[in-house]
Symmetry: C2
Subunit: 333 residues, 2 copies
Amino acid sequence: MIQTPYLLFLGDAPDMLAAKVAIGIRDWRPDNAVGQFRMEGCKADLGLTDMTLAEAKAAGAKTLVIGVANRGGVISQAWKKVLVAALEEGFDLASGLHSLLRDEPDLVAVAAATGQALHDVRVPEVKYPIANGEKRSGKRCLAVGTDCSVGKMYTAMAMDAEMRERGMKATFRATGQTGILITGDGVPLDAVIADFMAGSVEWLTPDNDDDHWDLIEGQGSLFHVSYSGVTMALIHGGAPDALILAHEPTREHMRGLPGYSLPSLETLRDTALPLARVANPACEVVGISVNTQNMSEDEARAYCAETEARMGLPTTDPYRFGAGKLVDALAAL
Amino acid sequence: MIQTPYLLFLGDAPDMLAAKVAIGIRDWRPDNAVGQFRMEGCKADLGLTDMTLAEAKAAGAKTLVIGVANRGGVISQAWKKVLVAALEEGFDLASGLHSLLRDEPDLVAVAAATGQALHDVRVPEVKYPIANGEKRSGKRCLAVGTDCSVGKMYTAMAMDAEMRERGMKATFRATGQTGILITGDGVPLDAVIADFMAGSVEWLTPDNDDDHWDLIEGQGSLFHVSYSGVTMALIHGGAPDALILAHEPTREHMRGLPGYSLPSLETLRDTALPLARVANPACEVVGISVNTQNMSEDEARAYCAETEARMGLPTTDPYRFGAGKLVDALAAL
């Protein structure tokens, strides 16, 4: 569990794209971000207050989050001065980079001396159990995609925000680095040992109030041969009551697999639902989330309307048009 | 890669059941077993020549394999004297126990001093790639089960033996501890990090002659919620040309999951085949392997005949009745 709120470290980010993690935190957990820290030459700007370490400390920030990725995912030597100073100032550090904070001897030494924590969210910090398949109380929703990176996390985040606004009981359950940094907690599922994948998802989504919804962050796709095992473990470990189908209509082939075309939404539905019912016979497909970022607004609205009519399921782009339709569908279940 | 042949260490095994790994080696790779080593009180006997370390060394044995499991999977202190002496005598050690050889300081020290290797086959020794989904030459066969532990490894082993006898090109590809110890090589799939599961199976089954068959050891079941992710990764990483359905007809519920019933063979076929075709559109279900160990011979023959007629697929218990039918089906593909 990472202590919130955060100071978002943007370092020397060459552009906004490099600040994806920080953008996610600002967009979905603005209360977690007291300000931003930019080094000389930084080309990213989140529109948050620029703060020194001391100012952020005074404003209540507890953790400096590396909200930027650089080429190769390494911890740049140029950042070290700031990271060391942050530890000295009493901040914990959190990172989702491939290179680990714990592999940097200087950071480890200063963290030990100051008593601060180093959080590498790519590395599981829990010894997860093997899944037992037992029925848990409370309800769970999972987005499954026709491909990787079609907006499954944003779908769950948008539904979570809408449900909280309506006063419904909901918790976003992070299963990837970005989600974990945004919320401060979760399971880095792609780094879990095979035998414990489904068990880690059960652990992440325990018994809860009958009217509480876990919105589980999806990963991979049953149709993406590199990562389908991770998706399968999410479906069986999560035992969802509701599935959302997620799709990006302009994608020409599976991400990173030029020889593989995307399945239709019908095929995704007919594949995922019977598998989900192994773990939860009551599971239903309740809606469709379309990532329309590469379409004009007219195209996007037309695509959603056509899909909704064809599939007989509420269809929207929850990031662009709001998650109301999808939350209505959950509430009606 | 573990050096063969082996001396099979049975220790103080309380019964034959505890010697499962050694039995597998004797049954499937008799050439790998030059003899057995039994301590006082050992109740297991493989019918192999009892040898001292010196006798086994003279007979050509290169590795002492711990072919026995004791309660808790620990490395018994009573064994240590033999294990240390084996290293001193010039043997490598290999183990599939939960407790690792490498975590025993005395064994590590003696192995370092003597230059011998310690093989813990539960721990991956390779940095596997992420799966790329590219078509490989050669052919692959995978058994998928209605449940865990229904005979998938024995099916592949029996087919491998039959194919070699016929002079066909075949390689058993181990994906679990027992299979790895039997053959000396493989991927401990249940211990691989989630993101690399499918890639490890691609790595295990590389390009080969067009008429060569990899017989991939199956794991778990698409219908076993604890391990279905591992099975999914095998199906997509293995990209099989042929699937064998594996079933144990007397099983009353999924192994370790009292609330879960087994799927029918029809459901297994209709679930596994479309998923397999994502990675290999030419994939076919070619036969059915029935584990009849809990049936009389008459019952077993009747069950296989009825299943063969109902499913329209060659059906046999390859361990009890031979794998000929299943190999015929592969050869006809």
